[in-house]
């Protein structure tokens, strides 16, 4: 544990041998293609499949929406076809004749909230009516008294934009029926949940469904069930009586597989003359598309003793949001952290000192004060200049910081360990590896328990034939599966001890497993090799099931980030020069893959700050950039030096396994934005930090206004 173990599936992935869902080619397999609404809002008048059905190679066709049903966004599925080649399936899809009655649409939060706006929902659909849904109002303390205590008040509107998940492997599956039994290879974050989703959607017993996900090309919170494309694929396969592959193309992926909702907040916040936060009053809103919420925590982390926050979800004619890597937190973090730097300037305090002064009381899952102090020292924060780089020339340099938190932790799960008489060990777990290194974690924990090298363990995951585990979301996988594996492997080892003990003339409780041997505690010479011990097992392998128990995992992580940027105030281009994070995650299972997760989260958040933006045309409601050229993502030259301080102090190690997939992706964007503010002296209160927006903000400041 906590060492650097190389990724188990590394060789399979670097050679191309790893078979992802997209790579599954079954005998006789044909290709499915979905026909989608080109309109952001329309009523389906008719769906005519006849010409498509007569097209060369077509084996199946179906209408997904009935006449009269509405398409609520561009890309809403309407019909589907399957043909013997992918090219012919695409041809046939173009021959499906759908007539639409176009309806008025709303493509932005402002349009949707206008008094005379067309309605996304005319009737109550999915609990939503009209274009808005007011949430609860959170309130604490005495707001009026809080503002009276304030020496300074900042009142501004802050916002973050919509981005999409851009999983490199698009959503999709291969469905194959054998009589009434379905086998589905699905690119999913939850094999067992997806199995249940197929059973419910197809109205068949769950025991008739097997879902397999050996490898998957990214999910980030967007892949939790069969979705429409899964059910469509299964029905096409049923109709054609052949296996069908249906993988979405890049445009469909942008339009219909989720996104991170936008976030807006009009905030009024007060601070006392000595730098204590006194009051926070916010109206917030955001859109998760057609019918999904846009929740986010606000204020984030820092303690406002008197506060009120009212939130409204706004619906627009766009694909629904889905959880995206630390859902809600990057938004709440940005809205709060930009405000914090503004407040710090009002009281002329250093941003780090100001933050430390307003943190909640310390706890094992709230170590920001320690991390700010340690990371600031390592980063060289003392070299920060006050807001606005005074040096002449167009390149301005700035420092920024921010803090974040995340839950993680275990949610239950099962595991099975087999030890055979040839010494081989197989750990089976119905979890899945999103690229986080789950397969490696399974092996490392089994190996640690049995005193073996990790490469001697065969981890088997990604199949509903294995014991039930939850979906991989909320950074819960490691903390959910490792306790079950630890317990199963421990029980299996106890059984092995009871076989070996008589041979060694001791009782089982006197034995331990270490470095590939079973020996008497305190007497390494008195023992036998793992292989010799396993020879005593007999023909029936040792076979143990176990379930997650509390005590080996915890929930709650904290972390801070620092960035340094260069901003060219003539071009508006931001270049991030370096990023430093101090991050805890309890007990580190594999230091190598844990660091990779942190790098990945930080780069994801850099994308959120500087590059990504789902652009909907305000007039047509069409996505302008449903590709990977104009939907921008960082490349190698955009990625700065990143330094990681994993805070695995004795206190953190004692907490057990927590999970690290999401926390690091929360606050980089905020730290970058604060560094841009520190460099330019201009506060940009919304993302993304695209060059034209930075130039506009600089111009507006010169003109005496703000963005």
């Amino acid at each position: 544990m906590s060492t650097r173990v190389k990724r188990f599936d590394g060789p399979d992935k670097v050679t191309g041998r790893a078979k992802y869902t997209f790579d599954i080619n079954r005998p006789g397999m044909i290709w499915g293609k979905i026909v989608r609404s080109p309109h952001p809002h329309a009523r389906v008048v008719s769906v005519d499949l006849s010409e498509a059905q007569r097209a060369p190679g077509v084996k199946a066709a179906l209408a997904w929406k009935d006449p009269g049903a509405r398409a609520l966004y561009q890309g809403d599925p309407v019909a589907a076809v399957a043909a013997d080649t992918e090219e012919r399936a695409n041809d046939a899809a173009r021959l499906v004749k759908v007539t639409y009655e176009q309806l008025p649409h709303v493509a932005s939060e402002a349009q949707a909230m206008a008094a005379d706006a067309p309605k996304v929902f005319e009737d109550v659909v999915m609990g939503a009516k009209g274009n808005t849904k007011a949430g609860n109002t959170d309130q604490q303390g005495d707001l009026e008294a809080g503002f009276k205590e304030a020496a300074h008040i900042v009142e501004q509107t802050y916002a973050t934009h919509v981005i999409t998940h851009v999983c490199l492997e698009t959503h999709g599956c291969v469905c194959e029926w054998d009589g009434d039994k379905l086998t589905a290879w699905v690119s999913t974050q939850g094999v067992h949940g997806t199995k249940d989703g197929f059973a419910q959607g197809l109205k068949i017993p769950a025991s008739n469904v097997r879902v397999i996900t050996q490898y998957m090309g990214g999910g980030f919170g967007s892949k939790f069930g069969p979705d429409a494309q899964g059910l469509i694929c299964a029905r096409l396969a049923q109709q054609a009586k052949l296996p069908v592959k249906l993988m979405l193309d890049r445009k469909e992926e942008h339009l219909d597989t989720g996104n991170r909702p936008s976030a807006f907040a009009k905030i009024r916040a007060g601070v006392s003359a000595d730098g204590k936060l006194t009051a926070f009053d916010a109206e917030s809103w955001g859109t998760g598309g057609a019918g999904a919420g846009a929740q986010f925590p606000l204020p984030y982390i820092y303690q406002f003793p008197n506060r009120r926050r009212a939130h409204t979800d706004v619906y627009i004619n766009a694909g629904q949001q889905r959880a995206m890597r630390a859902p809600g937190h990057p938004q709440g973090c940005f809205l709060t952290e930009i405000l914090m730097d503004e407040l710090a300037d009002r009281v002329r305090m250093d941003p780090v000192a100001f933050r430390i002064k307003n943190l909640p009381e310390g706890a094992p899952n709230r170590r920001w004060a320690d991390y700010f102090t340690a990371a600031a020292k390592s980063f060289g924060w003392d070299k920060r200049h006050p807001t606005g780089d005074p040096k002449p020339g167009p390149i301005k340099t700035g420092f920024g910081c921010s803090a974040h938190q995340w839950g993680g932790g275990g949610r239950g799960g099962r595991a099975h360990v087999d030890i055979a008489n040839d010494g081989s060990v197989v750990t089976k777990c119905g979890t899945q590896d999103l690229g986080t290194g789950t397969r490696t974690v399974v092996a490392v924990v089994t190996a640690e328990t049995l005193g073996l090298p990790a490469n001697q363990i065969k981890p088997e995951i990604g199949d509903t034939m294995y014991p039930v585990c939850g979906a991989s979301g909320g950074s819960t996988t490691a903390a959910s599966i490792t306790p079950a594996i630890r317990i199963a492997a421990g029980k299996a080892l106890d059984q092995l001890f009871s076989k070996a003990a008589p041979q060694l003339g001791v009782t089982p409780d006197m034995l331990m497993a270490e470095a590939g041997r079973i020996h008497v505690k305190g007497n390494t010479a008195k023992g036998m090799t793992w292989k010799d011990a396993c020879k005593l097992i007999g023909t029936e392998p040792i076979s143990v099931d176990a379930e997650w128990e509390d005590g080996l995992s915890s929930t709650g992580t904290s972390g801070v980030q620092f960035t340094e940027v260069d901003v060219d105030i003539e071009t508006g281009i931001v270049k991030v020069k370096r990023i430093l994070t101090a991050q805890d995650c309890g007990l580190v299972v594999d230091r190598l893959t844990a660091e990779s997760q942190i790098y990945g989260g930080i780069i994801g958040s850099l994308n959120f700050a500087l590059f990504e933006d789902r652009i909907l045309d305000r007039v047509t409601g069409q996505m302008v950039n449903p590709n990977m050229e104009f939907y921008m993502l960082a490349g190698m030259s955009d990625v700065p030096k990143i330094d990681i301080m994993i805070m695995d102090t004795p206190e953190q190690r004692a907490r057990g396994v927590i999970g690290i997939g999401e926390p690091p992706t929360v606050s980089t964007a905020s730290a970058i934005a604060n560094a841009v503010r520190n460099a330019t002296g201009v506060t940009i209160r919304s993302l993304p930090l695209h060059p034209h927006r930075i130039l506009a903000a600089i111009e507006q400041q010169k003109a005496g206004g703000t963005l």
Binding site: G16, F22, L592, S596, G600, M632, G635
Partner: protein, 209 residues
């Protein structure tokens, strides 16, 4: 987000007017559609045989082995190998030459195989990630990616590996700047850039493949 075309070696379009007519239809997907209707006219005037639109024999040299396929002329190299030859190592991600996951090496140069027609690269030496390792022995670039944990979900990895192979074959001691520029045509979503950079800059003196 940079183009992967090597400025040192501009792509030569060395065709006569006659052969231009013959290949115009395969230079891009959009143009292929046009060629279906225009080709007969071109043939009447200039004489070349019409290819397609149905399946035609296409012979490819992939990883040193000959592949005989029957595919429509519009089929991309990537789809031909993935869908017809079960060579699924290289991935389809953007399908528009923007992300690099499909990067193959054709006659020594990197190419986006999603934006290359199979019929266009007959007679050329095509290398994919599937043919890179020698049995159980990883290619030095694959080994470096494995050692440095330069992959997470792994979907961009085959393209990055092929781009790195091409880079180190050209610059056996690539500088940090050459690594950045050489790999700028590839996109990773999990955020493995830091680790890929470590792997690529660790490679010194890798032999030509």
């Amino acid at each position: 987000m940079a183009h992967k075309n090597d400025p040192d070696k501009p792509e030569r379009v060395n065709v006569s007017r006659r052969s231009f007519l013959k290949t115009a239809g395969v230079s891009s997907l959009a143009a292929t559609v046009a060629s279906v209707t225009e080709a007969p006219l071109a043939e009447a005037q200039a004489g070349p045989a019409v290819v397609g639109p149905g399946e035609v024999p296409v012979q490819l040299m992939v990883n040193g082995k000959r592949l005989d396929l029957r595919i429509e002329p519009r089929v991309t190299l990537l789809n031909a190998l993935r869908n017809r030859a079960d060579l699924t190592g290289n991935k389809r991600v953007c399908d528009r030459g923007q992300c690099g996951a499909c990067t193959m090496i054709i006659d020594g140069r990197t190419a986006y195989s999603c934006s290359t027609l199979a019929i266009e690269v007959q007679g050329k030496q095509i290398r994919t990630v599937d043919g890179l390792s020698d049995g159980a022995t990883l290619h030095p670039v694959q080994q470096a990616f494995y050692d440095h944990d330069s992959l997470m979900c792994g979907f961009c990895t085959p393209g990055f590996i092929m781009a790195t192979v091409a880079l180190v074959e050209k610059h056996p001691n690539a500088t940090a700047e050459q690594v950045r520029k050489g790999l700028d045509g590839n996109i990773c979503r999990c955020g493995t850039f830091t680790r890929i950079f470590e792997a690529a800059t660790s490679l010194k003196g890798v032999a030509r493949g």
